[in-house]
C-alpha cells in the first residue's frame, strides 16, 4: 500500500499513524512467536539442550 498523492495532510497523517501501529503489532506478534518457540524448545528438551553427541 502506498501513500497516495491526492491525500490531504490530515489523511496522510492518519495513514502513517495506522501503518506505524500495524507495524508495531506485527513486530509484537513476531516477538511473541520467537518467545513461544524458545519456550517450546526449553520445555521439551529442558536442561538436556546442552547434552548432545558430538
Amino acid at each position: 500500500m502506498t501513500v497516495e498523492q491526492n491525500m490531504t495532510e490530515q489523511q496522510r497523517a492518519d495513514f502513517i499513524k495506522r501503518r506505524r501501529n500495524r507495524s508495531i503489532a506485527i513486530g509484537i506478534a513476531l516477538a511473541v512467536l520467537v518467545a513461544i518457540f524458545y519456550a517450546i524448545t526449553i520445555a521439551k528438551v529442558g536442561p538436556d539442550v546442552l547434552v548432545r553427541d558430538l
Binding site: 500500500m1 497516495e4 489523511q11 492518519d14 495513514f15 495506522r18 501503518r19 501501529n21 500495524r22 508495531i24 503489532a25 512467536l33 513461544i36 518457540f37 519456550a39 517450546i40 526449553i42 520445555a43 521439551k44
Partner: protein, 309 residues
C-alpha cells in the same frame, strides 16, 4: 483478487485498517468460549501437561479459532452487510478489505496449527486444522446458506476445542473427549435457535435459511425441546464414564432440568411472549455451559487433589 479495486470503498480502506479492526476479525467473544472449553478439556484429561506447553496449546487453539472467525468474515461480508447484528463488522463497515482478512485468516491458521503440532502432538494439530476447515469451508461456504440444519452441523466446529485440549494432553481421543464434544454439539442448536427466534427478521433479510424462517416457529420450538433434553442426558455422561462424580453430577442434572423446563415453556408461547422467553433461553444457555464446565473442572480438581467423591 479483484476486491481491492472495487469501487464503493471509503478512504479509510485505502489507508488500511487499525490494529483493533484486525483484532475484531478474530471474533474475540467466540474466542473466549473456545479458550474456556479448550482449557477445561485440557485440565480434565488424565495425565498432566507442562504448564508452559499447556499455555501455548491454549494460545494456538485460540488463534486457530480466531483464524476461522476471520475466514468466516472474509466469505460472509455480503450477508453481514444485511443483518443489524453484523452490519458493523470490519468488512461491511469498510474498515478492512476482504483481501487483508483472507490473508490474516490463512496466516494465523497455518501458524497456529504448525505451532500446536510442534508443541504438543499432531493429532491435536490435525483436529485444529480440521476444525478451521470445517468451520470456514463446510459450515460457512457450504451449509450455512443451503440448509436450515446449518447450525447443527456448524455447532460441531465449536464443539471441537475441548477435544483438541484433551488430545493435546493425552495424544488420543477417548469416550470422555467425545462426550465433551457431544455436550457442546447438542448445546449449540437450542442456543442459536433461541437467538434466531427473536432475530428472525434479520436472518430472513440476509437470505440465511435459519430454522424459524424455513420450518416455522413451532417446528423450531419442538427442535429446541428435543435438543435440550438430549443435552441434559449427554450432560450426565461424564458421571456414567466415571470421569467425574456427584459434585458435577448434581449441578449438571439441575442445570439440565432447568434448561429443559425453559425450553418447554418456550414451546407453549407465541408472539411477543415467545420472543421474551426465547431471549431468556438464549441467556440461560450461556450460563448453562459456563457453570457446567466449571462444575466439571471443580469435580476433577476435588478428585485429583483431595481424593474425595
Amino acid at each position: 483478487m479483484a476486491y481491492a479495486d472495487d469501487t464503493n470503498q471509503t478512504s479509510s480502506v485505502h489507508m488500511g485498517g487499525r490494529v483493533e479492526d484486525y483484532l475484531e476479525l478474530l471474533k474475540p467473544r467466540v474466542m473466549q468460549l473456545v479458550v474456556f472449553t479448550a482449557f477445561v478439556g485440557m485440565l480434565v484429561a488424565p495425565g498432566g501437561i507442562n504448564p508452559v506447553i499447556g499455555f501455548i496449546a491454549i494460545l494456538c487453539i485460540a488463534i486457530g479459532g480466531g483464524a476461522s472467525g476471520a475466514l468466516n468474515m472474509w466469505y460472509e461480508a455480503d450477508i453481514d452487510a444485511k443483518m443489524s447484528r453484523t452490519l458493523n463488522r470490519p468488512i461491511p463497515s469498510g474498515r478492512v478489505t476482504r483481501e487483508d482478512t483472507l490473508l490474516l485468516g490463512l496466516t494465523l491458521a497455518g501458524f497456529s496449527v504448525a505451532t500446536l503440532g510442534l508443541a504438543t502432538n499432531w493429532l491435536a494439530a490435525g483436529l485444529l486444522a480440521f476444525t478451521i476447515f470445517f468451520y470456514a469451508v463446510v459450515y460457512t461456504m457450504w451449509l450455512k446458506r443451503s440448509t436450515p440444519q446449518n447450525i447443527v452441523i456448524g455447532g460441531a466446529a465449536g464443539a471441537f476445542p475441548p477435544m483438541i485440549g484433551w488430545a493435546a494432553v493425552t495424544g488420543t481421543i477417548s469416550l470422555d473427549a467425545v462426550i465433551l464434544f457431544m455436550i457442546i454439539f447438542l448445546w449449540t442448536p437450542p442456543h442459536f435457535w433461541a437467538l434466531a427466534l427473536y432475530k428472525k427478521g434479520d436472518y430472513e433479510a440476509a437470505g440465511i435459511p435459519m430454522l424459524p424462517n424455513v420450518a416455522g416457529e413451532r417446528a423450531t420450538q419442538n427442535q429446541i425441546v428435543i435438543y435440550t433434553v438430549l443435552l441434559t442426558i449427554a450432560g450426565f455422561g461424564p458421571v456414567l464414564t466415571g470421569l467425574v462424580g456427584w459434585f458435577y453430577g448434581v449441578p449438571a442434572t439441575a442445570l439440565g432440568v432447568v434448561f429443559s423446563a425453559l425450553a418447554i415453556r418456550l414451546r407453549f408461547a407465541e408472539g411477543v411472549e415467545m420472543k421474551r422467553r426465547a431471549r431468556v433461553l438464549f441467556t440461560y444457555s450461556l450460563l448453562y455451559l459456563f457453570v457446567l464446565f466449571v462444575a466439571l473442572l471443580a469435580d476433577v480438581g476435588l478428585i485429583r487433589w483431595f481424593g474425595v467423591f
